[in-house]
C-alpha cells in the first residue's frame, strides 16, 4: 500500500474540466478529474453512465467531439501535457504510446478490410519506430521465424530501422501473425484473411486487442471492452488480459460499469460520479472498506451471483442532469450522510488512509 507520490506514474490527469456545448445547454461533463495510472498496473475506472469515464478517456487521447471544450487541467504522459499538443503530435501519441480498445469492435473495425491487413496497416506507418520494434520482437521469439526473414536481416533492421519495402511487409505480416497468436486466436493464418463480420464477437475483441498491443503502447485504455460480450466470452477476454500482463509491459486503464469485472482484474480502482473521481483505492481495500457514501451505496445495491440477499437497498434519486449540476458536492442530493456544508463546498480528494483517497467532506477535519 503505497501512496500516489511513490510509484512511477505513466499517466497523470490533473484537474480536468470539460464542457459540452449542446443546443439544450452546457453540459459540465468533467468537473476537475484527478487520476493517476502507475506503471505496470491495471487501474479500474468505474461509474455509471453519464459519470464521465468515457469523456475522460477521450480527453486523454484527444478524441473529443467538436462541441466539447477543455476548460482546465492537464493530462501528463510522463512529462508532456497532451492537452496542449498539436494534432500531429497527438496522432503520434495514439500510434505508439497510448492505445485504445472500445466496446463494440464491429463499429471500430473497417468492414471492408481483412483483419490482418488492418493491423498490418498500423505498422506500416512510422517505419523508424516500428521496424526496430517489430524486428526486436521477432528476434526475441525463437519459434516465430516462420521462414519469414533471416536472423541477420532482422538484426540489421533492429539496429538501423531501415528496410526495403518488401522486407518491411514480410516483417509486418509475420509480426501480426505473432500478435494474433498472442491473443490466443486459433489458426492465426486463417483469421488474418477473414473480414470482421466473419468473426464472432469474442474473436473480434481479441483482434482489437491485438491491434492495440502491436504497437507495444505504454498505456492501454480499454473502454467498456467486455460490456457487449456474453458472459462466457467475457471470462475468456478477462483471462486473456490477466495472462497478457506478464508478457506485455503496458499499464491498463480499464473503464467499466461492472463492479465484478473490476474486482476480478484490477489492482487499483477509481470510482467516478457526475464528472468527479470520488474515491481511489487498492481493489481489496475499496471493496472491503468503501469510504465514499456513493461507493457504499453502489456496492450495497448491485445484485451478486454469490449472495442469497433478495431485497437490496438502493440509492435514492437519480443521476443529475449535468447542465444544472448540484452545487458543492455533486452527490449531496442523494447522499444519506449529507450535512449543511455539502451543498456549499466541493470536496477534494484527500487521503484519510494510506493509499486510499476520498472526495467527501465527512473526512475533512
Amino acid at each position: 500500500m503505497s501512496s500516489i507520490a511513490d510509484a512511477v506514474q505513466i499517466l497523470r490527469v490533473k484537474g480536468l474540466k470539460v464542457t459540452f456545448h449542446t443546443y439544450a445547454g452546457d453540459v459540465k461533463a468533467l468537473d476537475g478529474v484527478e487520476l493517476a495510472v502507475r506503471k505496470g498496473e491495471i487501474l479500474g475506472l468505474v461509474g455509471e453512465s453519464g459519470c464521465g469515464k468515457s469523456v475522460t478517456s477521450l480527453s486523454i487521447v484527444g478524441l473529443l467531439p467538436p462541441n466539447a471544450k477543455v476548460d482546465d487541467g492537464e493530462v501528463l504522459l510522463g512529462e508532456t501535457n497532451l492537452l496542449g499538443m498539436s494534432k500531429e503530435g497527438l496522432r503520434k501519441v495514439r500510434l505508439s504510446d497510448i492505445a485504445m480498445v472500445f466496446q463494440d469492435p464491429m463499429t471500430y473495425l473497417n468492414p471492408v478490410l481483412t483483419v490482418g491487413s488492418q493491423i498490418q496497416e498500423v505498422l506500416e506507418q512510422e517505419p523508424d519506430i516500428f521496424v526496430p520494434l517489430m524486428a526486436k520482437s521477432m528476434l526475441e521469439d525463437a519459434q516465430t521465424q516462420e521462414g519469414a526473414l533471416p536472423k541477420m536481416k532482422l538484426e540489421e533492421m533492429a539496429a538501423t530501422g531501415r528496410a526495403g519495402r518488401k522486407d518491411r511487409r514480410t516483417l509486418a505480416r509475420a509480426y501480426v501473425l505473432k500478435m494474433l497468436r498472442e491473443v490466443r486466436l486459433p489458426e492465426p493464418e486463417r483469421i488474418f484473411k477473414l473480414y470482421p463480420f466473419e468473426l464472432s464477437g469474442g474473436m473480434r475483441q481479441r483482434a482489437m486487442i491485438a491491434m492495440a498491443l502491436v504497437r507495444r503502447p505504454k498505456l492501454l485504455i480499454a473502454d467498456e471492452m467486455t460490456t457487449a460480450l456474453d458472459v462466457t466470452v467475457q471470462a475468456q477476454i478477462l483471462q486473456l488480459l490477466k495472462e497478457l500482463r506478464t508478457e506485455i509491459d503496458a499499464s491498463v486503464l480499464l473503464i467499466t460499469h461492472d463492479l465484478g469485472v473490476v474486482a476480478e482484474v484490477c489492482d487499483r480502482v477509481a470510482v467516478m460520479y457526475a464528472g468527479n473521481v470520488v474515491e481511489v483505492a487498492d481493489a481489496e481495500d475499496l471493496f472491503a472498506d468503501p469510504l465514499h457514501p456513493y461507493t457504499q451505496g453502489l456496492l450495497a445495491s448491485v445484485p451478486r451471483v454469490d449472495s442469497e440477499v433478495r431485497e437490496r437497498p438502493s440509492i435514492s434519486g437519480s443521476v443529475p442532469n449535468l447542465i444544472y449540476p448540484p452545487s458543492g458536492c455533486r452527490f449531496h442530493p442523494r447522499c444519506p450522510k449529507a450535512f449543511e456544508k455539502c451543498p456549499q463546498t466541493k470536496p477534494l480528494l484527500i487521503e484519510p488512509k494510506p493509499g486510499h483517497l476520498v472526495a467527501c467532506l465527512l473526512f475533512e477535519k
Partner: protein
C-alpha cells in the same frame, strides 16, 4: 457564495420551449432557410388576399385598348413615365398584350398556381401515404399489387400523359390538376412505403401489438405520424416543382383560355413580344423562379431542422 442547487433545475428544460428555441437558433444560423420561409409565407399571403384587392374577374377583359407601356416600343425603364404615359390607372409593371396591368395579373396568377400546387401535393400525399403505408404494413400480396401498379404509373412520362389527357378530355384546370396528380402520386407511395417498412420494425410497434392494439390503429395513429416528416419535406419541395410543371404545361399551350391568369400562361403570351416588350416574360418568369426557390429552400430547411433531432 452562490445559491446551493440540487440538480433539479433542468427539469423544466425539455418540451415545447426548448424545441422552439432550437428551431429559432437553427434559423438564425441559416439565413437561407429563413429567406425560403419568408418567401413562401409571402407567396401564401399574396395567394390568399390578392383577389380581395384586385377582383377575381380582372383577367376577363373585353376588347381592351392595347397599351403595353413602359414607353412605346423603345425600351426605357423609367417607371414614372410609365405611370403618367399610361393613363390614369396605375400600371407599375406596364400592361400585357390584352391591356391588363402586368403586376395585377401576376398577383392574381399566384393564387391560381398555388391552389393547383396545393391540391396536387395534398392529394398525392394522402393517396401515397395511405397506399404506401398499407402496402408496407400488410406486406405479401397487397404489397406486391400496390407496388406493381405504382411502377406502371411511374413509368409513364408525365408531360406526355398530360398533353394526351388534356387534348382528349379538354383543356380545363381540373383535368390539368388530375393529369399532374396522376404522375405525382407514385413517388409518395414509394416514400411512405419505405418509411413505414423501417418504422414497423421498431420496438414500440411490437409493444403496441403486445398491448392488443389493432393493426389499422397502429398504422394510422402511430406509425404514420412518426414517419410524416420526410413526406412533409418532400411535399414542400414538390410545391415548387408542381408550380413549375403546371407553368410549363400552360406555356406549351395547354391552357383553357389564352387570357387565363397563370404565370406560365402569362409567359406564353409574353414570349411573342420578347424583343419589343421583354418585361412581359421577364416578370412572370422571375415570379415563378422566386416562388419555387422559396418553397425549395423551405423544404430543405424543414429537413435540416427536424431530421437530426429525430435521431435524438
Amino acid at each position: 457564495m452562490s445559491q446551493p442547487t440540487d440538480g433539479k433545475q433542468g427539469e423544466a428544460d425539455y418540451g415545447r420551449r426548448a424545441d422552439i428555441r432550437h428551431i429559432l437558433s437553427q434559423m438564425r444560423q441559416n439565413p437561407i432557410v429563413l429567406a425560403g420561409a419568408v418567401i413562401s409565407a409571402i407567396s401564401v399571403l399574396v395567394a390568399l388576399f390578392s383577389w380581395v384587392f384586385i377582383g377575381p374577374s380582372y383577367w376577363i377583359q373585353l376588347d381592351p385598348p392595347l397599351k403595353l407601356c413602359w414607353n412605346n416600343a423603345v425600351i426605357d425603364w423609367h417607371i414614372q413615365n410609365a405611370i403618367t404615359s399610361c393613363g390614369s390607372t396605375v400600371f407599375p409593371l406596364g400592361t400585357d398584350n390584352y391591356g391588363r396591368g402586368l403586376l395585377q395579373m401576376i398577383l392574381i396568377s399566384i393564387p391560381v398556381d398555388l391552389q393547383i400546387a396545393f391540391e396536387v401535393v395534398a392529394s398525392a400525399v394522402v393517396i401515397g401515404t395511405v397506399l404506401g403505408g398499407v402496402a408496407a404494413y400488410l406486406g405479401g400480396v397487397v404489397d406486391e399489387v400496390i407496388l406493381r401498379v405504382t411502377d406502371i404509373f411511374l413509368a409513364v412520362p408525365g408531360i406526355l400523359l398530360a398533353i394526351v389527357l388534356m387534348v382528349i378530355l379538354g383543356r380545363t384546370i381540373p383535368i390539368l390538376t388530375i393529369s399532374v396528380l396522376i404522375t405525382w402520386w407514385p413517388f409518395y407511395v414509394r416514400l411512405a412505403r419505405s418509411q413505414v417498412l423501417s418504422e414497423k420494425e421498431k420496438l414500440y410497434v411490437e409493444r403496441l401489438r403486445a398491448t392488443g392494439v389493432g393493426g389499422s390503429r397502429i398504422l394510422f395513429r402511430h406509425i404514420i405520424p412518426n414517419t410524416i416528416y420526410p413526406v412533409l419535406v418532400q411535399a414542400t419541395l414538390d410545391i415548387g416543382a408542381v408550380i413549375l410543371t403546371v407553368s410549363a404545361l400552360m406555356f406549351i399551350g395547354l391552357t383553357p383560355d389564352p387570357k387565363y391568369p397563370e404565370l406560365g400562361n402569362l409567359a406564353k403570351q409574353g414570349i411573342q413580344y420578347i424583343f419589343t416588350a421583354p418585361w412581359l416574360i421577364v416578370f412572370p418568369g422571375l415570379t415563378l423562379l422566386i416562388i419555387s426557390v422559396g418553397f425549395n429552400l423551405l423544404g430543405d430547411g424543414i429537413r435540416d431542422v427536424f431530421d437530426p433531432r429525430l435521431r435524438r
